[in-house]
């Protein structure tokens, strides 16, 4: 693998620099890797691409990304690529600079700054020196103190930060050191970690303090769109080339395991940045080097670090913008109801949503990741949303959570019945998406009694009279509902604690 990397990088370097004046081989036959633009006199068109002030860095990021992933992720147990004394010295210089910068940042008392930057640990021992158009630069893989993942509105998948990001350091023409964190966010298929897969997607570049400074989108046709934050000083340089302005949200989430990966905390949002970008074509990329290059892209999302603990892999996909809009519409709708509004207000923050075709029910709430997954887009409705939100709410109400009442355990029948009853009370109140679910399977007359009982609760709350029938209805549910729910009745749980709490002050 190392040999392949060396050959690959050598080829890249050869193609990166201008060909000798005597060389007659047509560019198209040399190879198809992307190269920086050259001026007519053969010198590098540094800092100027396509007549704009956009630097040759544009392709450097992409080239570096290719090289990094090809070399670093595959040489975890191998040696450093460049071990010449001058390389070591440069790596040390980068390391000192990074430590100094991050030392200041991590010791900052600004909570926002601290939250925005999860503690990263550059793998200096796997750093590589790559020749950029502006001179040599360093790239190093990163690992993080905790299990962090990136979720954006750019790509449809959560991406493990360790897999998706690397450190890049270089000196500018003035000799000033710069450090950047580069995120590779695939958009084609859900990346299978540690497996090679073609990369198409977005590259987001942050400075060391977590501010987004630029980005690139690599399209499936090989073309590249540049992204410049509208707030950036560079925005004016591309304003005449701007195609559109798009805003993206970039979030960093974290989950923590205290028991070696057996169980995981609910995801915690570390930071959320919404940045609007001017997008512009990167024509040079498409014309110089033959349509986006070849070879290295497969490795953008290959490999990855690994802490030895196997975290729960992200399942499903995040919701699309349309689905998010629908979800928010339903959220607004159900929030108008007093009890449901209380549930939503209590559990919505920090809740993740996904569409996951592999689940066996229309929707489910996963306690370990605090995620509501819908089996399909069409299962995003008030009925599913309410029941799953309520399950999350139950977890906060019952002492010690509801984990002990999970499927197949005593109490599961009680918990499930309460959730369905809560949904049905809402139905009785609104008749919106009013599919009665608590009485499915009940004989005709008993179902009738159940519905009338629920209507009474919806009107008056849990009066003594309706409460007197709770055990009876729970008994019917245990007797007639789907097999999955039956047979796990816990007598001590014959009070709908979570509903009572949600309904407090509503009547």
């Amino acid at each position: 693998m190392l040999w392949f990397n060396l050959i690959f990088v050598t080829m890249l370097i050869i193609n990166h620099f201008p060909p000798p004046a005597t060389q007659t081989t047509p560019a198209s036959q040399r190879n198809q890797l992307p190269r920086p633009a050259h001026s007519p006199n053969g010198s590098l068109n540094r800092g100027k691409i396509c007549g704009t002030a956009i630097p040759g860095w544009t392709k450097c990021f992409l080239i570096v990304g290719m090289v990094l992933l090809q070399t670093l992720w595959s040489c975890q147990d191998e040696t450093i690529l460049y071990t010449q004394p001058e390389s070591k010295s440069f790596i040390n210089e980068c390391r000192n600079f990074y430590d100094l910068q991050m030392g200041e940042t991590y010791s900052s008392t600004d909570v926002k700054v601290q939250q925005q930057i999860p503690k990263r640990n550059p793998k200096w021992e796997h750093a590589a020196i790559i020749p950029f158009s502006m001179g040599d630069g360093l790239v190093a893989p990163l690992n993080y103190d905790e299990y962090n993942f990136v979720r954006t509105t750019i790509n449809p998948f959560d991406v493990l930060m360790e897999d998706a990001s690397y450190l890049m350091m270089y000196k500018d023409n003035g000799g000033n050191m710069h450090g950047e964190i580069v995120f590779l966010l695939p958009d084609n298929t859900k990346p299978k970690y540690r497996q090679k897969q073609e990369f198409y997607g977005t590259i987001i570049v942050q400075d060391l303090k977590g501010n987004i400074i630029k980005g690139y989108i690599h399209h499936h046709d090989g073309s590249v769109t540049g992204l410049i934050p509208t707030s950036s000083g560079m925005a004016s340089a591309v304003s005449n080339l701007t195609k559109s302005v798009n805003c993206y949200t970039f979030e960093i989430w974290q989950i923590v395991s205290m028991d070696g990966g057996q169980t995981w905390s609910p995801p915690r949002l570390l930071s959320s940045q919404t940045e609007c970008f001017l997008s512009y074509d990167e024509p040079c990329w498409a014309t110089d080097g033959g349509g986006g290059g070849s070879g290295g892209y497969d490795d953008y999302i290959a490999g990855g670090g690994g802490s030895g603990i196997t975290p729960p892999p992200p399942t499903g996909r995040p919701l699309t913008i349309t689905e998010i809009n629908i979800l928010n519409q339903f959220k607004s709708t159900i929030s108008t109801d007093c009890a449901t509004g209380k549930v939503v207000g209590s559990v919505w923050n920090g809740m993740r949503f996904a569409v996951d075709g592999s689940i066996t029910s229309p929707a489910q709430w996963d306690r370990t990741t605090n995620t509501i997954s819908f089996q399909s887009s069409s299962q995003i409705n008030t009925s599913t949303l309410m029941e799953e939100l309520f399950h999350a709410y139950q977890n906060t109400v019952y002492p010690g959570g509801t984990g002990k009442y999970s499927k197949g355990k005593p109490g599961n029948t009680n918990i499930e019945f309460e959730a369905k009853l809560f949904k049905d009370i809402y139905t009785a109140n609104t008749e919106l998406y009013g599919v009665w679910i608590g009485c499915i399977g009940f004989p005709y007359q008993i179902a009738h009694e159940y519905i009338i009982w629920v209507m009474d609760i919806a009107e008056q709350g849990f009066t003594q009279a309706v409460m007197a029938n709770y055990s009876t209805m729970l008994g019917y549910f245990n007797q007639y509902s789907a097999e999955d729910y039956r047979g796990h009745l816990l007598e001590s749980l014959d009070t709908p604690l979570a509903i009572l709490q949600a309904q407090s002050d509503c009547y």
């Binding site: 629908i326 519409q329 029910s361 229309p362 399909s376 069409s378 299962q379 995003i380 409705n381 009925s383 599913t384 009785a428 609104t430 008749e431 919106l432 998406y433 009013g434 599919v435 009665w436 679910i437 009485c439 499915i440 399977g441 005709y444 007359q445 179902a447 009738h448 009694e449 519905i451 009338i452 009982w453 209507m455 009474d456 009279a465 309706v466 007197a468 029938n469 789907a482």
Partner: protein, 208 residues
């Protein structure tokens, strides 16, 4: 003299109140007279049908079932289950059809009096895969002034005017949905039935 006048005024007010109470009671007599005790039996015969009745004294409800529906009508069909099936449901086609059914079954005077008494009628409809009504059952309060004859007329009017349509996934095999409504006579009086309107406004996901 003054004291005598005061006593006389109090006396007159009491008489007036008593008179009003008698008048109210008397005006309700035709309604209650028809209904009182009418729902006591387990089976109540009306003009064209027999209702089976079940009472829940604790909750104060009488459940009324039309005995003409075959016992196995629902058991021959699958029940729509949103937990295993794609979203599908039934909505009422017309709010006004239900409102008119109530207005035909009860006179304006009766509606007004029942509204005063905060009476309501709940009805549960089982609807087939094509939107057809399979069964219709009622629930009223124990001690109600609503007569069996009024329920019979209401049932006939509802069956005549009420229509459902399937939204979301349509199934091509026998299935049934459960749709339930509670209508207060105060709503009938105002011409706006909350739960009925909500059903009329139902939309399938994606139609928003």
């Amino acid at each position: 003299m003054k004291a005598m006048r005061t006593t006389s005024l109090k006396h007159s007010t009491t008489l007036l109140l008593v008179g009003l109470s008698f008048a109210t009671a008397a005006s309700l007599l035709p309604l209650t007279g028809r209904a009182q005790g009418a729902w006591e039996a387990n089976e109540v015969k009306v003009k064209s049908k027999v209702y089976r009745c079940k009472k829940d004294i604790n909750l104060g409800h009488i459940f009324i079932y039309n005995s003409t529906y075959p016992e196995n009508l629902l058991s021959e069909r699958a029940q729509y289950n949103p937990e295993v099936q794609e979203f599908s449901y039934v909505k009422l086609v017309s709010h006004d059809a239900v409102l008119n059914a109530f207005r035909r079954a009860f006179t304006a005077e009766e509606i007004g009096k029942l509204a005063e008494l905060k009476e309501h009628v709940s009805f549960i409809v089982h609807v087939g895969e094509g939107g057809q009504i399979l069964t219709l059952a009622f629930s009223i309060r124990t001690g109600t002034t609503i007569s069996p004859a009024s329920i019979e007329t209401l049932e006939n009017e509802l069956l005549k005017g009420m229509q459902f349509e399937v939204i979301g996934k349509r199934f091509d095999y026998p299935i049934f949905y459960t749709s339930a409504f509670r209508v207060y006579f105060s709503e009938v009086e105002k011409g706006e039935l909350r739960m009925v309107r909500a059903s009329e406004n139902l939309k399938a996901p994606g139609e928003y």
